[in-house]
């Protein structure tokens, strides 16, 4: 008998009188000790599935039909009280976003103790506070948090994202559950931290003999943590089977497309971008940026966001800057755009020093930017046409010319003309990014800074946007400065790459060189942490020693 057995589940949401069917005849099984992944893109219904199991659906959701069997009992027929008793004891969830998962005005220990106290109450156990604290300490050690007492006393804001994610896992393990439901664990964290977290979950599942339901959008994560895979799309399970079968012989077009959309890290499928061989458009010489934090009582603190960076971006190429959060890559991009002044050093664009421009602000026909978050890069109160009108208007075009150019721009980014009258909320994430690209193109720039333009998009959408960017580059002779943390994407999209760590460029070269023979241990660690989808790629990854990791990565364990 399967531990969890979902049969023909149908769930719908009602909002303002409109009913949307979000799950259609979903069937899924997790056996004792099995590791199962449920994969899907945004809006596929994967989280709704887990919420149905956990009985945490929002009030406007209703289960239309189907059964959810837990050890043979249909949970949907049981009263809430009874289902409540399973939570945290039989099945535990590992939450997605470690940043907002704790109440900021209570200590971590308070959260953990509460959960334990109420679990004890339900189980009819009696334990004193000291006993509970001892247990909490033990569980925190299990998730490899080096200093449990410090974690217990800490406020949520005092822990790093990785540490909070570990505490969340500890919460899930607290009462030795039979099954772990992990909802996109580590997605909000850096690759290297995510890698640590996934390994930890894997180890725990093995050691404790747990079953695992891994909910994710990342195929690389699936490969690391599951043996059996369900693929979901628009509320329907489109395909399921053992990991090997899904990855090597997918049956449906959707699966093939999904797997095909993932940029390879190593192997024959990797694409090398041509070098332009032209002189540099952008030149950075020993550029530094220091931020100062003023204090009344203590000495002012300074943070070196960027330290002594020298780069040359050849005309017509795609120059990638890789790094994790806090590495200074975005600060660097903002300096190139002239939005921040450099503390030291010189930035030269197209032969002109940035400081020689009026107000230190770069000419808009020189450089434009495409932002990471499609949600905030377009004004919600302005239509697409109005948004595109701004650069055209200030370029001095008359009304007829602006209308013509708007049509042209929409065509350039593969959107139909009638999109001109749409508001941002009527666009999907990918379409918004296309409009953002069109806006950048409208100013007719030579350089476009791409600040993680696809990191908020699903892989299939990402692939199409990247293809568009490649076309635009060759058609219009653009130069890109591409900021990203996604190394597998950069391997295929960039012609040059620089790796940043704590404000410094630690390594640069063509992707082929850097990936084949990464010199700096940090680069090696970064590449090694990328979740890949084939064993061959995994084997081709560079080796990094624990000592090196310790030196260059901020551990989430302490």
């Amino acid at each position: 008998m399967a531990l969890l057995d979902i049969r023909d589940l149908n769930v719908s949401f009602t909002s303002y009188g409109q009913r949307t069917h979000v799950l259609r005849d979903v069937s899924l099984k997790v056996g004792e000790g099995q590791r199962v992944a449920l994969i899907g893109e945004t809006g596929s219904g994967k989280s709704v599935t887990s919420k149905t199991v956990l009985n945490t659906l929002p009030g406007n959701a209703s289960v239309e039909s189907g059964q959810v069997f837990w050890r043979g009992t249909d949970l949907l027929t049981r009263p809430d009280r009874e289902r409540e008793k399973l939570k945290g004891i039989e099945m535990s969830v590992v939450m997605q976003d470690p940043l907002s998962s704790f109440n900021p005005v209570f200590t971590i220990g308070h959260h953990l103790d509460s959960v334990l106290y109420w679990a004890d109450r339900r189980a009819g156990r009696r334990r004193g506070r000291a006993e509970r604290t001892a247990h909490i300490r033990q569980v925190l050690r299990k998730v490899q948090l080096a200093d449990p007492d410090r974690v217990i006393a800490a406020w949520p804001a005092q822990l790093s994202g990785g540490m909070r994610q570990r505490v969340l896992i500890a919460l899930a393990l607290m009462n030795r559950p039979a099954m772990l439901i992990a909802d996109e664990p580590g997605t909000a964290l850096d690759v290297t931290t995510q890698d640590e977290i996934l390994r930890l979950i894997n180890d725990l599942v093995t050691e404790e003999g747990l079953s695992l339901l891994m909910i994710t959008h990342n195929l690389g994560v699936v490969r690391m943590t599951a043996d059996y895979v369900y693929v979901m799309r628009k509320g329907v399970i489109v395909e399921h089977g053992p990991l090997k079968q899904i990855f090597e012989a997918p049956q449906t077009d959707y699966c093939r497309e999904l797997i095909g959309a993932i940029p390879p890290l190593y192997g024959a499928a990797v694409k090398d971008q041509p070098l332009s061989g032209e002189p540099p458009l952008v030149k950075l010489e020993n550029v530094s940026k220091r931020f100062t934090r003023r204090h009344l009582l203590r000495r002012d603190e300074t943070v070196d966001a960027v330290r002594n960076v020298s780069l040359e971006v050849p005309r017509g190429e795609i120059f990638g800057i890789a790094g994790e959060s806090g590495s200074g890559k975005t600060t660097l991009a903002r300096m190139v755009m002239g939005m921040l002044g450099a503390t030291e050093g010189e930035i030269v664009i197209d032969g002109v020093r940035l400081t020689d421009h009026a107000e230190g602000r770069i000419d808009r026909r020189m450089a434009q930017i495409v932002y990471q978050n499609p949600g905030t890069s377009l004004n919600p109160k302005r239509t697409v046409a109005q948004t595109l009108d701004v650069p055209l208007h200030f370029a001095g075009l008359d009304k007829a010319a602006r209308a013509r150019r708007t049509d042209e721009l929409l065509e350039r980014v593969d959107l139909p003309r009638h999109f001109a009258s749409r508001y941002p909320h009527e666009l999907s994430g990918g379409q918004k990014q296309r409009i953002a690209i069109a806006r950048a193109l409208a100013a007719d720039p030579k350089l476009i800074v791409l600040d993680e333009p696809t990191s908020a998009l699903d892989v299939s959408v990402q692939k199409r946007v990247i293809t568009l960017l490649e076309e635009l580059r060759s058609d219009l002779g653009l130069t890109y400065l591409f900021i990203s943390h996604d190394l597998s994407l950069m391997r295929n999209f960039c012609s040059h790459i620089a790796v940043m760590l704590r404000g410094e460029v630690v390594e640069q070269g063509t992707p082929a060189e850097v990936f084949a023979d990464p010199r700096h241990p940090y680069t090696r660690a970064l590449i090694a942490a990328v979740p890949v989808i084939t064993d061959a790629e995994d084997a081709a990854k560079p080796v990094v020693t624990e000592a090196e990791k310790k030196r260059f990565l901020v551990s989430s364990a302490a």
Binding site: L54, T56, E84, K85, K87, G88, I89, S92, V93, M95, Q96, D97, S100, S101, F102, N103, P104, V105, F106, H111, S114, V115, W118, A119, R122, D147, R150, A153, A154, W155, A157, Q158, L168, L171, A172, M174, R293, R294, H295, L296, L297, R298, E301
Partner: protein
């Protein structure tokens, strides 16, 4: 790893900044009230003397009030006096303004403190209740009550309460702070409740409470409504947060999540607003004291304004400002105690 996780210096720095800001507020306030008193059309000396005084008498008054000095000198004199607690003499009674205010302050202080207590004690729990049963009938009823509270001007509530008492509670005292026959306890604070308790005079406490009930309620009603609404919306906003989901998913009961975890977090917003609304609370105290013949600082302010007693008006405005600033400082400290993020926050 150090053992000290409570990084206090950040918080002290935060408080220092606030105190500095408050000092600036008082400084600018003094400048504004001075400007208002000196630059507005009309001659303060003439106002003080009344229309029947002769030109010579007015001129003598001008000299006495120092109105012939250059404005900066006058301002500096006002400011240095104010810092020492000296606001000059009343143009009407001729007695020092500060003395009058100090004598009347405890009455207003008592009223305002009881009002604040009432606002918190009624507003917060009712807001929590409304959030807990949101969109149900309890919520609808409470929202309606809060709206009525916010809608009713304090003077109307005061009058309606008096009207109600006149018809249904004929023995209830409606004017003043305490029954005439009772000998005042005297005491360190001037607050009848506290002095009465200290002196063991339960008759004083009883009578003072009776007298306080209506004015405090009239003054508190709109605040109760606002705090209720803010607590409710903060609770509902926080209910959407992931951390509620975290605790619930691990089986911590709903009521514990609501009353223990959310209440503390949700008290920050109403507290902040309460600080801001403190100014209008003092304003309302003017009217309520008048209706109930309370004889406090606020009624004195109202009289001074009506009689164009400029020195007293300036003092009243400055003291109200100090009230506001102190209340907000207290609230900042309270929020700092509640919210560790504020204590941990590094300077900007």
């Amino acid at each position: 790893m150090g053992k000290v996780f409570f990084v206090a210096s950040g918080f002290i720095e935060f408080l220092l900044r606030r105190i500095l800001g408050f000092a600036v507020i008082l400084l600018v306030l003094s400048l504004m009230i001075f400007a208002l008193a000196r630059v507005v059309p009309g001659d303060p000396a003439r106002m003080a003397m009344g229309p029947s005084a002769s030109a010579e008498q007015v001129e003598a008054m001008r000299e006495q009030m120092g109105l012939n000095d250059p404005l900066p000198t006058q301002y500096f004199r006002f400011l240095s006096g104010a810092v020492r607690g000296d606001f000059g003499v009343s143009l009407i009674s001729g007695r020092p303004v500060t003395e009058q205010i100090l004598r009347l302050l405890p009455a207003t202080l008592e009223l305002v403190l009881v009002t604040l207590l009432l606002m918190m004690v009624l507003g917060v729990p009712l807001g929590v209740l409304a959030a807990r049963y949101r969109n149900g009938w309890v919520d609808t009823l409470l929202r309606l009550i809060s709206m009525v509270g916010v809608t009713m001007p304090a003077f109307l509530v005061a009058i309606l309460l008096q009207l109600f008492a006149a018809f249904y509670l004929s023995d209830w005292p409606l004017l003043g702070r305490i029954d005439r026959g009772i000998e005042l306890p005297g005491g360190p604070t001037g607050l009848l409740l506290i002095d009465g308790l200290l002196a063991g005079r339960l008759d004083v406490v009883r009578s003072a409470l009776q007298h306080l009930a209506f004015p405090a309620f009239a003054l508190a009603l709109s605040g109760i409504g606002q705090i209720m609404r803010l607590t409710r919306s903060a609770m509902i906003e926080n209910l959407r947060r992931d951390h509620v989901q975290t605790l619930r998913s691990f089986g911590v009961p709903d009521r514990v999540v609501t009353f223990r975890y959310l209440l503390k977090l949700s008290s920050i917003a109403p507290l902040t607003i309460m600080g801001l609304e403190f100014a209008s609370l003092i304003g309302n105290a003017f009217v309520v004291e008048m209706v109930f013949a309370w004889g406090g600082f606020a009624s004195h302010g109202l009289e001074s304004i009506m009689q164009n007693d400029l020195n007293a008006v300036m003092a009243v405005v400055m003291v109200s400002g100090i009230f506001f600033v102190l209340a907000n400082l207290a609230i900042d400290i309270l929020i700092g105690v509640i919210d560790p993020r504020l204590r941990l926050k590094e300077g900007r």
